[in-house]
């Protein structure tokens, strides 16, 4: 098991190096180049040359990449120009990352907590009205654009009905103590339960909006996978031993049926990051997604670089965790 994790960690380093190369090349291909981005289109050739030299842009490409890597490893990507002008780009990322992580975590939690049980129930009641209804529902879930759904939820439950807050992560007047940057967790740690509750209320609508697509996907994969596993010989063997429904469901059906679901969850994190950009915009969430959206419109390349690289690394880390979870469930992967 340890060797398995070590091997996957090494693979991860490789993936991150390739990713950094991609980000580097993307930087080089920016319209007008970095120099124009900094000096503007109308700079004199002399000033351009001076800056190029100062930035090391007159060096061969591989030297530049090496410089870029060295700086990247130290977290130096320059200052933000658009999102929070003057602030270090890495700093911008670090400040906002917990917000996005908290939102994504709750979204994924919703998606898993609803998708797996419903998928299992739909499969066990194949072709019943419940099954048909939930399949249609999940289709709608995939089809509705996240942006639109976020607006609808906000309009109905926040603006019209006043059930839940319209935007932000927490009521600033609560003046809650910050520990980790995860507001619900902070509230629990500091025993400021009203703050935790308020943060939770702020989380409901955006995480529901963000959860729909992963929920629909997890639901459908679980349903299909449970249907497959139910027909397996080993489930019949389990029945022939007279085991209780509970044991057959958990140990013999779900433990096998969840293997493809786990893989799906890992892949969903990519979509989750994209969805976060849209959802955070609607709810003024103040996370990475919102920063990326602003950085795009204001050409804040430093922030974009950091966010893209870190998002990619997050994606890779989560898939590593998924692989480990997979190996924990499936002994055949472990011993291969």
């Amino acid at each position: 098991m340890l060797r398995f994790i070590l091997r996957r960690l090494l693979q991860m380093v490789g993936v991150v190096v390739v990713l950094s190369l991609l980000v580097f090349l993307w930087l080089r291909s920016l319209p007008g180049g970095t120099v124009s981005a900094i000096l503007g289109e109308k700079a004199t050739p002399a000033r351009r040359a001076a800056l190029e030299k100062a930035l090391g842009l007159d060096q061969p490409l591989y030297v530049q990449y090496w410089q870029f890597l060295k700086r990247a490893v130290q977290g130096q990507f320059g200052s933000s120009t658009g999102v929070q002008p003057g602030v270090d780009a890495m700093q911008v990322f670090v400040q906002r990352f917990p917000a996005t992580l908290e939102l994504s975590f709750f979204a994924l939690l919703f998606a898993i907590a609803a998708g797996i049980p419903l998928g299992y129930m739909a499969a066990r009641r194949r072709t019943s009205w419940f099954d048909n209804l939930s399949v249609v529902g999940s289709l709608i879930g995939v089809a509705v654009p996240v942006f639109f759904l976020a607006f609808l939820l906000k309009y109905w439950f926040a603006i019209n009905l006043h059930w839940l807050p319209v935007s932000g992560r927490q009521d600033p007047s609560l003046d809650a103590t910050r520990v980790t940057g995860f507001f619900v967790l902070d509230g629990l740690l500091t025993r400021e339960y009203d703050a935790a509750w308020d943060a939770l209320k702020h989380l409901i609508l955006p995480s529901l909006a963000l959860a729909t697509i992963p929920f629909a996907v997890i639901f459908r994969i679980t349903r299909a996978s449970v249907l497959d596993v139910m027909d397996e010989d080993y489930v019949r063997t389990a029945e022939s031993k007279g085991l209780t429904n509970k044991v057959i469901r958990g140990r013999h059906i779900l433990r096998n049926a969840l293997l493809p679901v786990v893989t799906t969850i890992g892949l969903q994190t990519g979509g989750l990051l994209v969805g976060a950009v849209l959802t955070e915009r609607v709810f003024s969430w103040g996370g990475i997604g919102e920063a990326v959206a602003v950085a795009f419109t204001r050409r804040d390349y430093a922030v974009l670089q950091v966010c893209i690289l870190m998002a990619a690394i997050t994606f890779v880390v989560i898939n590593l965790l998924v692989d480990i979870a997979y190996a924990v469930i499936d002994p055949r992967v472990r011993t291969r």
């Binding site: 397996e232 010989d233 080993y234 019949r236 063997t237 389990a238 029945e239 022939s240 031993k241 007279g242 085991l243 209780t244 044991v247 140990r251 013999h252 433990r255 096998n256 293997l259 469930i329 499936d330 002994p331 055949r332 011993t335």
Partner: protein, 339 residues
């Protein structure tokens, strides 16, 4: 004293039947399809300690019969009629939960393909102990030594290590031994083995059959042995029921039936077995045609199109099942008894 008890337990076939299948009929009723009768009025008895064979070609209803006895047929799209008496109780009228209590405790079953019949993500040990936990109310911890003992008993070397192993780490023969250990963990009185050796090498086949024989003889378990290959069970069974297209066509004790098969189908099955003591150059004669040629039993003999000696009445009237002591036969024109 012990001697006589042993005797009645292992060879005392005169006792009341332990399992008595009466007119078992299983009809698949799929929506939009013609009802299909897979098992058609099958009756047979199994006494304590007895080994009864259920023999026939693929598709003749062997597995459906065994699943019906176990209460493992799908809930929907199936009609099951007749009786399956176990110690006097009709299993077919028992509730789902009552059957769940009996499976693994009173009735055990082992299946054809050992690899696909084992859960790939659960250690072998847990797959054995879970039966003991369920039916004996033991904790996992208390059940583990018993599971180890069981694995040892079915001839799995180094059972301590194997408890923690997963199915893919075992060889084919070992997997089937593990399945046998699971089925016998709670010492059920009836064990149904549905083609337990079909997926195994010839040498392993013999080992598994020897093991089954030894286990049922030691414990007095009644064994229902299902196979399409008469040769495989020749040394194991006491009585044989030959099944064709859902009906029993011939029955008898092993020796008389092997020596003098009366039904042309049984005769055909026996002549298609390669014999070790057969003269060299003796041709094996497989039965011509296939199940798809069958006639409906309603007013003919289903086997008629493939039969070596049909007469006119065979395609006009259903042959009755005529019992004569331990022998029974369903044929208008049986094979002559040769002397």
């Amino acid at each position: 004293m012990t001697e006589t008890i042993e005797n009645t337990r292992t060879r005392g076939h005169s006792e009341e039947p332990l399992l008595s299948v009466r007119d078992l009929t299983v009809t698949f009723t799929r929506q939009g399809e013609k009802p299909f009768v897979a098992v058609d009025g099958v009756s047979f008895d199994v006494r304590p300690g007895q080994t009864v064979g259920l023999v026939g070609e693929s598709g003749c209803g062997k597995s459906v019969t065994s699943l019906a006895i176990m209460g493992l047929l799908p809930q929907r799209g199936v009609r099951v009629e007749g009786e399956v008496l176990y110690g006097g109780t009709n299993l077919l009228t028992q509730s789902k939960e009552q059957m769940r209590d009996r499976r693994g405790r009173d009735l055990g079953m082992i299946f054809q393909d050992p690899l696909s019949s084992l859960n790939p993500v659960v250690p072998i040990g847990v797959q054995v102990t879970e039966v003991l936990e369920r039916h004996k109310g033991l904790s996992r911890k208390a059940a583990t030594p018993l599971a180890r003992e069981m694995l040892d008993k079915v001839g799995i070397p180094d059972p301590n290590r194997r408890l923690k192993d997963y199915p893919h780490q075992l060889s084919g023969g070992m997997r089937q031994r593990a399945l046998i250990a699971m089925a016998l963990a709670c010492a059920p009185k009836v064990l149904i083995a549905d083609e337990p050796t079909t997926a195994l090498d010839v040498t392993i086949q013999a080992q598994i059959l020897a093991l089954l024989k030894e286990l049922v003889e030691d414990s007095g378990t009644a064994l229902v042995m299902i196979t399409h290959d008469l040769g495989v069970v020749a040394g194991l069974v006491d009585r044989i029921n030959v099944l064709y297209a859902g009906r029993i066509v011939e029955r008898g004790d092993r020796h008389p039936l092997f020596a003098q098969p009366r039904h042309p189908y049984t005769h055909g099955l026996l002549s298609s077995i390669p014999r070790l003591d057969g003269e060299r150059g003796t041709k094996l004669t497989p039965i011509p045609g296939s199940v798809s040629d069958n006639l409906p039993w309603a007013n003919a003999c289903a086997f008629a199109p493939r039969c070596s000696q049909p007469i006119d009445v065979c395609v006009e009237k259903t042959p009755e099942f005529v019992e004569d002591g331990p022998r029974a036969l369903r044929c208008h024109n049986p094979v002559e008894v040769s002397r």
